[in-house]
Symmetry: C2
Subunit: 340 residues, 2 copies
C-alpha cells in the first residue's frame, strides 16, 4: 500500500473491502453488500469516481435514516410472457438486478427479447455494470432508471425531469469488453457537480442554470437551480423517455415524486428500474453479423483517433488499475476507515 500526502494507492480487493465493510457494519445483508461492493470497486477501477467509494457514506446514512431496508429480499411478483416484475421491497437495487438476471436471460433466449421491471428500489452507482454483465452473457442490453429531479427542458429554467441515466451494451468478440455506454440526460451527472462542490471548483459554463434560469458556474447555485439537458431538446426528449419508461410505465415514481418522499440523507432516491435483454440469435444477427460488428467497432476505434468509442477510457483505466492499483483521496479513505 503506497501513499503520498493526498492520495493512497490500494489494490482492487482492498478497495472492494473498503466498500463492503461499512455496508455490512450498518446491517446491510451479505447479498446486498456483495453486489454493491463489486460495482463500487469497479467504478473506482474504471476511474469513474462519481460512482465510486464516495457513495458509500450516503448508503450507510440511507440505512441509518430508516429509508432503505438493509436486508430486503427481492420478490418476483410476476413472470408471465417476456416480462419479469420484481419488487425490491425498499432495498438497494444492485442485488435484485443481479438476482433477476438469470430469469431475464432465460426469457430473452426463449422469446427473443425480455424485460425486467424492478419496483421500489434504491439505485445508486452506474448502470454500465448492469448492462455490461448482460452483454457478457451474449445479450444486447438496454437499461434506465430515474435520477435526481434536477434537469430542465431545453430553454427551461426549473427542473422538469431527472438525470435519468440510459445504458446500453452490445456483445463483442471473445476477450473483448462489450460496447457499453451509460449516459445521463443532463450535460453531466449530478455527481460531477457534487464532486466539484466538495472540492470548491467552479463548473464549466453551459452545465447549469440557477433558480432564476440564468447560466451559472457555481455548484451550489446549480444544485438549487437546474442542470441543462445534453444536446438541447434531443437530450431532453431522451430524459423524458426514461422518466416515462422507468416511472409510470412500470407503475413506479416520477423523479419529482421520488424527491418529495426522500429523507435527504445523502443516499439514493427511491424509484423504478427497467432493463431489456435482446437475444441476437432471434434477430438474424448470427455469428457472422455479430463478428462483423465487432470488427467494425475495432476499425472505428483505430481509424477515428483521437475520437474514442464509448467505454474505451473506462476499460483502459480498469486494465491500469488492476495492474498498478487504484488511487483514493486520503480524506475519503480516512472517512471510510471510520465506518469499517
Amino acid at each position: 500500500m503506497a501513499t503520498n500526502t493526498d492520495n493512497i494507492r490500494l489494490s482492487f480487493d482492498e478497495v472492494r473491502q473498503l466498500a463492503e465493510q461499512p455496508l455490512l457494519n450498518c446491517g446491510i445483508s451479505r447479498e446486498h453488500a456483495d453486489a454493491m461492493a463489486d460495482v463500487v470497486a469497479l467504478a473506482e477501477a474504471d476511474e469513474a469516481r462519481s460512482h465510486g467509494l464516495y457513495r458509500i457514506p450516503g448508503c450507510v446514512q440511507a440505512v441509518r435514516s430508516g429509508k432503505v431496508a438493509p436486508r430486503a429480499e427481492p420478490e418476483v411478483t410476476a413472470s408471465a410472457g417476456a416480462v419479469v416484475r420484481m419488487d425490491a421491497r425498499c432495498g438497494f437495487a444492485l442485488y435484485p438486478l443481479r438476482a433477476g438476471q438469470p430469469l431475464l436471460v432465460d426469457k430473452a433466449r426463449q422469446f427473443g427479447l425480455a424485460a425486467l421491471a424492478l419496483n421500489n428500489c434504491y439505485h445508486f452507482s452506474a448502470l454500465w455494470a448492469d448492462v455490461e454483465r448482460l452483454a457478457e452473457s451474449g445479450m444486447v442490453a438496454l437499461s434506465c432508471t430515474i435520477g435526481a429531479h434536477n434537469v430542465a427542458l431545453a430553454g427551461g429554467s426549473a427542473p422538469a425531469f431527472g438525470t435519468n441515466p440510459l445504458a446500453f451494451a452490445f456483445p463483442r468478440g471473445a476477450g473483448r469488453k462489450p460496447f457499453v455506454f451509460d449516459l445521463s440526460s443532463s450535460v453531466v451527472a449530478k455527481g460531477e457537480i457534487e464532486l466539484r462542490r466538495r472540492s470548491g471548483m467552479p463548473l464549466p459554463p453551459g452545465w447549469a442554470v440557477d433558480r432564476e434560469g440564468a447560466l451559472t458556474t457555481n455548484p451550489d447555485d446549480a444544485l438549487n437551480g437546474a442542470i441543462l439537458p445534453f444536446g438541447g431538446h434531443k437530450g431532453a426528449a431522451l430524459g423524458l423517455m426514461v422518466e416515462l419508461l422507468a416511472g409510470p410505465l412500470i407503475g413506479d415514481l416520477r423523479s419529482a415524486e421520488a424527491l418529495a418522499i426522500d429523507t435527504h440523507d445523502g443516499g439514493p432516491l427511491r424509484g423504478g428500474y427497467l432493463m431489456l435483454a435482446i437475444d441476437p440469435r432471434h434477430f438474424g444477427g448470427g455469428p457472422g453479423k455479430m463478428e462483423d460488428a465487432d470488427a467494425w467497432l475495432t476499425s472505428l476505434a483505430e481509424q477515428h483517433q483521437p475520437a474514442r468509442l464509448p467505454g474505451t477510457r473506462r476499460h483502459a483505466a480498469r486494465q491500469r488499475s488492476l495492474a498498478q492499483g487504484i488511487c483514493i483521496p486520503r480524506v475519503l479513505y480516512d472517512q471510510l476507515l471510520e465506518l469499517c
Copy 2:
C-alpha cells in the same frame, strides 16, 4: 386553392394526391403508394418539410434506376416468440411497417413486449408516423433505422456512422396526441443540410466539418465532410447504438455498406428497421399510472413555457394545416405536377 408568387396553398387531400399520383405513375403498387402518401402528406401538414413532398422525386428516381422494387410484397420470414421478422424484398418500408403492425401489437399484448425487424427495405421520411400510430393503439413504441453515412464521432473528422434516427412514442389520454419524438444522431437531419444547399443558404456554425475536419457553414462542404453528432459523445453513443440495432443485430447493412451499394439516384438507402412495442398493461403501468403520466406531461407543457415538449410544434402545425391548408413552394408544386 390560393396562390401567391412563391407559394401555393393546398388542402391536405390535395397534398396527399400530389404525393401519391407520381408514385402510382412510376409503377409503385397501390399499397405502397397509399402508405407513402399518408406519411408525406402528414409531414407537410406538420411543417416538417424535410420529410415531405420534396422526397417524392427521389422515390420516383429510385424506382426508375431499378434500385427499389415498386411492387414488392413484404413477407413474414419468422414469427417465433415475441419477434416478427419481415423481408421487404427491396421495396419501400412504409407499407411493410403498416402491414406488420397488427402482428407486432398482438405479440406485445401476448408477451408484454415484442419486436418487428424489417430487412432489405428502403425507408424514407420520418419515423414519428410509425411510432405515433403504435402509441395510438395503446403501445409504448420505440423504433430506429440506419440513416445516411454522414456523422462523425465526437472529436472525429470523417463519417463514422449514419444519421440513424431514433423515435419514441408514449400513449396519452383520449383526444390527446401521443408524446412523440424522432431524432437523428446528428446535430441536424441530413435533409436540413440538403434543403439549405438547394436554397443557397449557409449552415449555422457547429453543424458540420469539411473533409479536412474543419468546421464549415457551406452545405456542399458539409455533405462532402461529416455532420457532427448532437450532444457530443452522448449523441455519438446513441448513433452507434442505432447502427448496431438496425444493422448487425437484425442481420442487415451498416450505413457504410448501404452507401457502398447505393445508386445515388436521390432516393433512400437500403437497410434494416427495428421497432419495439411495449404493452403497459404487463408492466404495472395500469390506467391510474398512465393517466398520471398524461397529467404530468400536460403540466410540464403549461409550467415550463417557453420550453416545449417534443412533438408540440408538429401537432400544432397539423391542426393549423388541417384548418387553413398547407403552403407548398411553387417550384416544388410544378415539379410534382410534371410527374403527375
